[in-house]
Subunit: 343 residues, 2 copies
C-alpha cells in the first residue's frame, strides 16, 4: 500500500484536525501519518476523554488490522539493535514495504522513552518516508506500556504497514510482553561463544524463533562463524517448539549490511511455514485470549488491592506469611474474606 | 529424627482416633505416620468440615516446618523415575534419613493418582519404614492439586522428614507448579543425544538445577557419556541462573545403583552453596509470596467468572474477540464492567 500522506489531493479532502473517531479512522486507513501519530498520542494519553476517543478509534480500526507481519527484536545493550533495525528497515523499504518500528521499554517511565527516543540513532530510517518510527510509550507499569503498544499495532496495521517491528531490551519481563504480541521473535547476539548471553535472561533464548549473531565483520568473522555453529549444536539438543519451526541461527553485519537479505528470507520462510501449518492463526488467537485474560486479571488485582480493608492489612499479612506465622494459603484466604462476600 | 510411629509407648499415649487439630499436630510432630496419613487425607478432602480442620492442623504445624530439603524430580515417561527414586530413597535411608515421596500429577483426576498410585512400582521403598510414599492428590485443577501438595509438604516437614521428593511428569504446567515449591529441581534424561528431550517442554530444561542421564548401563555407557558432554557444552552457552549455581550434568544407572551417591553429593553441594549465599532463603520467601499472590489471583478469577452476568456473557465476548470484532482490551473492559462497581 502506498503512503497516502504524501498525496496532496487526499490531504486536501481531509480535515486538518480530526475530532471524531470516524475522522481519525478515515485518515489512518488512507495511510495518513500525521493522523496516525495523533491517534497514537491519544492511545498514550492518560486523560479519560482521550482514552474514550482512542478506544473508539481502535475498535473501528480492528476490521482493517491483522495483515502485517509482527516481528519482535531483542538483544543486550551493545549488540547493535539500532544499526540492525536501520539495515533491516532499508532492506524492507527497498523491497517496496511500508514498515513501522515501535518499542517497549519499561524503563521509559523514567527516561521518557529511552529506546528509539533519540531518533538520531536511526538517521536513515527517520528520513525514509516508507518507515514510521515511534518511541516506547511512557507508563507506570509494563502492563500499561504493553497494552498501549498492542493498541498501536492495531492502528499501524489499519494504516497499511506491511511489517511492524517491535524492539525491546533483553532484560526480562518486557520480552515476555513482546513475545505475546508478535508472530516471530528475533534475538540478536554478539560474536564469541559462551558468555555473551550474560545480559539475556534464561528463557529469552527459548522464546526466539531466529537467533542472529550481529557484528560478524572485520576480525570477528571467524568468531561469529564458530558462535553460530555452537548455538546450532546447542539448540539442536533442545526440544522443538510447538510451532513446528526449528529455531535458526544466522549471522550478519548490520554495519556492513551483510547477511540482512538472508535473515529476511529466513523470516519469510518462518511466515510461510507457520501460515501453511495454521500455527500462526492459532498463535494469534491464543495471544488475543491471553490479553483478554491478562487484562481481566490485572484489573481484578488492582481492584482487589485498592479495597480499603485489603490495603490496610496487606503488609501485615505478607509479613506474617514470610515469618511463617501463617501459610500463604491462609494469608490469601484472610485477604479474600476482606474483599469478597462470604461464600 | 527417628520414626516414632514404631514406638509402642508413644502409640499407647495417644488417642487412636484424633479428633481435634491439637491431637493431629501432636501425633504429626512425634512422627506418627498413621496420624500424618489421616491429616493428609483431611487436606485432600473436599468436605468443608475436613477442610476447616485441615487448615487448623496446617497452621499449627507451620512452626515445625521448613527444615527439610525439598527436591523436585521430573523426566519423560520411560526415563525410569520410579527406579531412580527407589535407588535414591535407599541411598538416603541408608544414610539414616527419613524421606517422604509425594507426587503432582494433574492427570490423576482421571486415573485417581497415576504417579505413585501403584505402590508396587516402588516395592522396596514401600517396605522401608524410613520412607513415606504418598500418591498425587486428585483434584479438579492443577492449582488445587498443587495447593494440596504444598500443604502436605508442611505436614511432612512437621513430622520430621529430612528430605521431601516431589515427583512429576515432564509434560508442562505441573513442572512449573513443582518448581515453585521445591529448593532443587532435578531433570532425568535418557542416554543418546539430541532428540531425547522430545517429550520435555522447552523451559523445563531451563528450570533444572541438576540434569541426570539415567540408564547409563550396559551398552548405553558410551552413549550416556557423550550425551553428558553435549549437555554440558550446551548448558555452558546459556546464561547463569539467578541462584549463582551452574546446572550440573551427571549420569547414573538407577537399575545398577551406580552414580546415585555422586548425584546426592551434588544435591548436597547445591544446598551448601545456596544456603551460604542466602539464595535459598530468598527463594523460599519468593515462593511464599508467589503462592500468596497466586492463590489470590486464582480465587479472584474464580469469583469473577462465577458472577452470573459474566458467566452469561463470557462466551459471546470471547468469540467477538477471536473474530476481531472487538479488541481483547475492550472485551476485558466489557466483562469487568459487569462485575465490578463503576469507577
Amino acid at each position: 500500500m502506498a503512503n497516502q500522506s504524501i498525496n496532496p489531493n487526499l490531504r486536501a479532502k481531509r480535515k486538518a484536525h480530526p475530532r471524531k473517531a470516524e475522522d481519525y479512522v478515515a485518515g489512518i486507513v488512507q495511510g495518513n501519518r500525521v493522523v496516525l501519530s495523533k491517534a497514537i498520542t491519544l492511545v498514550e494519553s492518560t486523560l479519560p476523554k482521550h482514552q474514550a476517543l482512542a478506544q473508539d478509534i481502535i475498535e473501528q480500526c480492528l476490521p482493517y488490522a491483522g495483515k502485517a507481519r509482527r516481528i519482535g527484536i531483542t538483544g543486550s545493550p551493545g549488540v547493535g539493535k539500532s544499526t540492525f533495525i536501520e539495515a533491516l528497515g532499508q532492506q524492507l523499504t527497498s523491497l517496496g514495504q511500508q514498515i513501522a518500528i515501535l518499542a517497549i521499554d519499561p524503563s521509559s517511565q523514567v527516561s521518557k522513552g529511552s529506546i528509539l527516543g533519540d531518533k538520531t540513532r536511526m538517521i536513515e530510517l527517520a528520513a525514509n518516508e516508507r518507515a514510521f518510527v515511534r518511541p516506547s510509550p511512557a507508563g507506570t507499569t509494563l502492563g500499561g506500556v504493553a497494552r498501549k503498544t498492542r493498541e498501536t499495532i492495531i492502528l499501524c496495521e489499519a494504516a497499511g504497514f506491511d511489517t511492524i517491528i517491535i524492539e525491546t531490551v533483553g532484560v526480562g519481563q518486557s520480552e515476555i510482553a513482546v513475545h505475546s504480541m508478535v508472530d516471530c521473535f528475533l534475538l540478536l547476539l554478539l560474536p564469541g561463544a559462551g558468555d555473551e548471553l550474560q545480559g539475556i535472561k534464561r528463557g529469552i533464548v527459548e522464546m526466539a524463533d531466529i537467533l542472529c549473531i550481529n557484528k560478524a565483520d572485520g576480525n570477528r568473522v571467524a568468531l561469529a562463524k564458530r558462535a553460530r555453529q555452537e548455538y546450532r549444536n546447542a539448540l539442536h539438543l533442545f526440544p522443538p517448539k510447538t510451532s513446528g519451526w526449528t529455531p535458526k541461527v544466522l549471522s550478519c553485519s548490520a554495519l556492513e549490511k551483510q547477511g540482512i537479505d538472508d535473515l529476511w528470507e529466513t523470516v519469510v520462510a518462518y511466515f510461510e511455514q507457520t501460515t501453511t501449518s495454521a500455527y500462526l492463526a492459532q498463535k494469534r488467537a491464543e495471544q488475543s485470549k491471553f490479553w483478554l485474560q491478562e487484562t481481566i486479571d490485572a484489573a481484578l488485582r488492582d481492584w482487589f488491592m485498592q479495597q480499603p480493608q485489603v490495603a490496610a492489612q496487606l503488609a501485615d499479612i505478607e509479613q506474617a506469611v514470610l515469618a511463617r506465622k501463617i501459610s500463604s494459603f491462609k494469608g490469601a484466604d484472610l485477604l479474600l474474606q476482606l474483599a469478597l462476600e462470604p461464600k
